[in-house]
């Protein structure tokens, strides 16, 4: 009896372990997180947002979604705003705290390692994830005057402004 009981416990434990492994693999392949924020079953996107973030980070460039970098990267970006890619983009203390918290809270939970060896990456386009996602994009597309820079997401991701990077919304410039 005791032996049987032990056996069934092991079977359950093994089943749970197997399930969790399977789910992890499925999640990694699907990678929905990278396309459109939290998604409903029908696939409509409902990206996380914050008014201050949208206003402050979205004036000079697209307000890049928090999930594109790790919390460590965002902390580094926020602590260097006085030298933000050639501009002084300093914020007042209240805005910096609110935006910093929003970014850290919604940052990627996956690795966003640098592709050039400098950790943590400050540019989304300097992550291995970005390079891998864009590996099929031809050189001439990057050089297209309508694209100009990898920071110009909306050149191809037609819904980038609303936070969706779903591949169905991609239109290469012609």
């Amino acid at each position: 009896m005791l032996k049987n009981h032990m056996n069934s416990r092991w079977t359950i434990a093994a089943a749970v372990l197997l399930m969790s492994v399977t789910m992890t693999v499925a999640h990694a392949e699907d990678d929905d997180e990278d396309e459109g924020g939290s998604r409903s079953k029908k696939g409509s996107s409902n990206p996380v947002t914050n008014a201050k973030w949208k206003d402050e980070c979205g004036s000079c460039h697209l307000a890049y979604p928090p999930r594109f970098l790790s919390a460590e990267s965002w902390r580094a970006v926020m602590s260097g705003l006085d030298k933000h890619f050639g501009s002084n983009a300093s914020l007042d203390a209240a805005a910096a705290t609110e935006i910093g918290d929003f970014l850290a809270k919604n940052a990627s939970t996956k690795q966003r390692n640098s592709s050039n060896g400098i950790e943590p990456p400050l540019r989304i386009s300097d992550t291995r994830w970005f390079e891998s996602e864009h590996r099929k994009v031809a050189d001439r597309t990057w050089k297209d005057p309508k694209v100009k820079s990898p920071s110009n997401c909306a050149a191809c991701h037609t819904q980038a402004q609303s936070g969706s990077y779903n591949e169905h919304d991609i239109r290469m410039p012609k």
């Binding site: 000079c60 460039h61 501009s87 820079s149 110009n152 050149a155």
Partner: protein, 138 residues
Amino acid sequence: MLRTSYASALLFVVGLSVQPAFAETPVDVLSALQSEAAKSTSNFQGFSAARGEKFFKVKHGNEWSCTSCHTDNPAATGKHAKTEKPIDPMAPSANAERFTNPKKVEKWFKRNCNDVLDRVCTTQEKGDVLAYLLTIRK
């Protein structure tokens, strides 16, 4: 029924308060700059749209002028020189939201003067530029 009308009245009031209320007009912002300049600038002679236009269009030792992002025509939609992001027109005649929030005005003068001149702009310079932008017709 009575409850419904109370509810509609409440909704109406709430609706009013969420209208995009512009706290100030561009002319208010200009007159605030004027009183500031009168206090801080010795021998202040008023603002000049012509001087503002020149300031807006020339480079000040750096790679960028105001027009690098805002174009030569302040009534047109601009484009960030580096990121290509569209920038709404600067002239109040073409964009009713411009120069209606003094905090925002200060923030952007501070940031953009730093990019264009490597320093903050004087009140005289800010007033000249706004005086110029106010002369632009759509």
